[in-house]
Symmetry: C2
Subunit: 151 residues, 2 copies
């Protein structure tokens, strides 16, 4: 910084755009190798240790359109990666869980993806990298909260 001859710096979005692009591109072969779609993987990541109650809530949590992830959930369920069962307390809703297999697959894929990230993170000095990741995690969390608030 600054990046421009006249002292200006690029907007955050302008800087983040290309970075997201290369990262997403790097994920494709990993996902393909495991026969996962991007949204399929996002669903697996969006399910943690506790079941998620309602598909709509999961869709929101991962930034997906609830009407578009139905097929994704169907596929994941068919593959035994998730379980989807009616909530006994409210029969309109489904409880969504990772199966053991789903968790293993998610963790495998994530390991591979984050290994690929070293290509980029490895270009930062170690102390800078730690700060960058910490700052990014914080900003990302804040952004998510903002998005949740506006929905």
């Amino acid at each position: 910084m600054p990046e421009q001859p006249d002292g200006r710096r690029d907007d955050l979005a302008a800087m983040l755009g290309p970075l997201v692009q290369v990262l997403v591109a790097a994920e494709q072969p990993v996902l393909a190798e495991h026969d996962l779609s991007m949204w399929g993987y996002a669903v697996l990541c969006g399910l943690g240790d506790e079941p998620v109650r309602t598909q709509a809530a999961l869709a929101q949590a991962i930034g997906a359109d609830k009407t578009r992830i139905i097929g994704v959930l169907d596929t994941l369920q068919e593959r035994g990666l998730i379980e989807r069962e009616p909530d006994p307390a409210d029969r309109r809703a489904r409880l969504l869980r990772l199966t053991g297999e789903g968790r293993r697959l998610r963790d495998d894929v994530q390991r591979s993806i984050q290994q690929g990230e070293q290509r980029w993170l490895g270009r930062l000095p170690a102390d800078e990298r730690a700060v960058f990741l910490r700052a990014l995690a914080r900003l990302s969390r804040l952004a998510r909260e903002d998005l949740d608030r506006s929905r």
Copy 2:
């Protein structure tokens, strides 16, 4: 870090996604206020002090589709924000320049946008912020180089 109960962290793309989303959303009203499209602004930002030779080169530099920015360039030219003239050395090609007005508008918009960024950057400690921006600028540059190489 780590962000997950089980020690995992989110993928970079997963963290960057929501952040890009809120940043882009914050840009919309600024762009609208100046009657600029996102690609229009990207063109203004992609033109620096020196003319850019060929529309295709500009399109590539800003990550746009050369066939899709023609209308954008038409509009910007009509508004007197850019100049577009045949390259005397090669009449197939155009030289693209910012006008003074285009530069002023670009700088105004960028000032507003970067002011809006304080909402996020201001949530980081000052030393972390500087490191974050420096790291991001570097990663962004590396990503751009990678994208250029693959085109």
